[in-house]
Assembly symmetry: C2
Homo-oligomer: 287 residues x 2
Amino acid sequence: MSDMRSLWRVGPDVDLGAIDPRSTPGLPGRKVTGDDPKLWARAEVERIGAELATQQEMLFAQATVEPQLGRSVLLVLQAMDCGGKDGAIKRVAGTMDPLGLQIKAFGPPTPEELQHDFLWRIRKALPPAGYVGVFNRSHYEDVLVVRVNELAPESVWRPRYKKINDFERKLAGAGTTVVKVMLHISRAEQRERLMQRLVNPDKHWKFNPADLDARAKWDDYQAAYTEALATCNTDDAPWYVLPADRKWYRDWALAHLLRATFTDLKLTYPQADYDVTAQRSRLEADG
Amino acid sequence: MSDMRSLWRVGPDVDLGAIDPRSTPGLPGRKVTGDDPKLWARAEVERIGAELATQQEMLFAQATVEPQLGRSVLLVLQAMDCGGKDGAIKRVAGTMDPLGLQIKAFGPPTPEELQHDFLWRIRKALPPAGYVGVFNRSHYEDVLVVRVNELAPESVWRPRYKKINDFERKLAGAGTTVVKVMLHISRAEQRERLMQRLVNPDKHWKFNPADLDARAKWDDYQAAYTEALATCNTDDAPWYVLPADRKWYRDWALAHLLRATFTDLKLTYPQADYDVTAQRSRLEADG
């Protein structure tokens, strides 16, 4: 399977309006998927997920044997409300061993966090060597909601793009592979999903009236996303936009993206750092 | 299904030697399981796992709506090397949403951790309201390996039993349901599993020569476990011993144990803390 990442990688002139959230780039035709691409994609996610689990174990194994050479992977997930971050984590990250996952959700900063630089809480949540980290929202909120809602003046948020690029470059240099994904949904799909949360009592807790305030600023958010995508899209920490109106396509694409990322790392199980034969003899002598 | 926890709950006179690690208490007969209890148990873990995932979501939802009333669940897993902690986490905790899991593995304490009370690093790793925490090893190592290897004098470790009981009682009082599980394997099964790690190069990284040193002190460890089980077995934080030579039984038993624990919490999805009708109208007015 060739590297599919180019299907989703943004360019400097990224235009969210030109990416159809219902599209399914890279999806094989009906000859491959059969008549139910949704069912096919779910099975593919399971299959690729098993490969992700093996890759994750090798990442973990290497860091166990040689912590200072150990690498980590950090998936940064951003989306408008109802964009499917939680679902993608459950279905795709959930195929890996929870032991090797470190998932961190970032909400509005606490008073203590506000007393620090915006990257302070981010640094504290970075995955250790051997781990796959997932950020459910991230430091990008500091150039998204902060910008749209004017929670800080432009003199504060504007310099953050460069700070983010510096930070991510150092992360990459320190052995963390950073993959940034925007799950891209349409305004109509968001309406549909918000309505589901209001109609189904078991989902009421997922709804927050502030979601509708954010929705009213849809265009401002899309503009803020566009600038973040265009400005912070480096080879050290590339941005991908996944069409996400179809949940099964979103998960399928994310699974491929993660697999390609792991493949780059050329992971293997580490050599033993002890004398295997001697230890076998020792164990064999011990009934 | 009646509460099966009594099958595994220890008493004050717990005797590990009298619990057969290959036994399968509570397992239905062949009329129910069919000819392959292993296959049946795996399917049951999937089925019960789906219930655990729903319970976990309700726990998370309640803490989202009312953080100060939110509860958490903490599963403490202890075992001899190769006892199956990692496998149990993967197969049973892995049925839940990774978003709501907080898994923490405790290794030998760092120099910084040693400068603090033994519970310092434990407190830092407690699950927040709404989360299911899993401790892969725990503060019990401070009365197990520390005692067996004489890493501290008895005047240090002996008072820890009481400190642990105090700590766990306060945890329970603060809304954390504590479930402590020892995965109980036989010396012969440990030998088999260690050998697998030495024979299969992909598993070499899981083996550590120190594992054989610990194995040489098997009886001392069993004695230390027995005292911890007997002394720190409170209604606030009960100890369970699961026969664990058969991995499929271990997982099946743990799934039942967790489900019974959740059932006690009588969780439901929380009521909305906003006016649902008003929010629906607002969304409907917004194309």
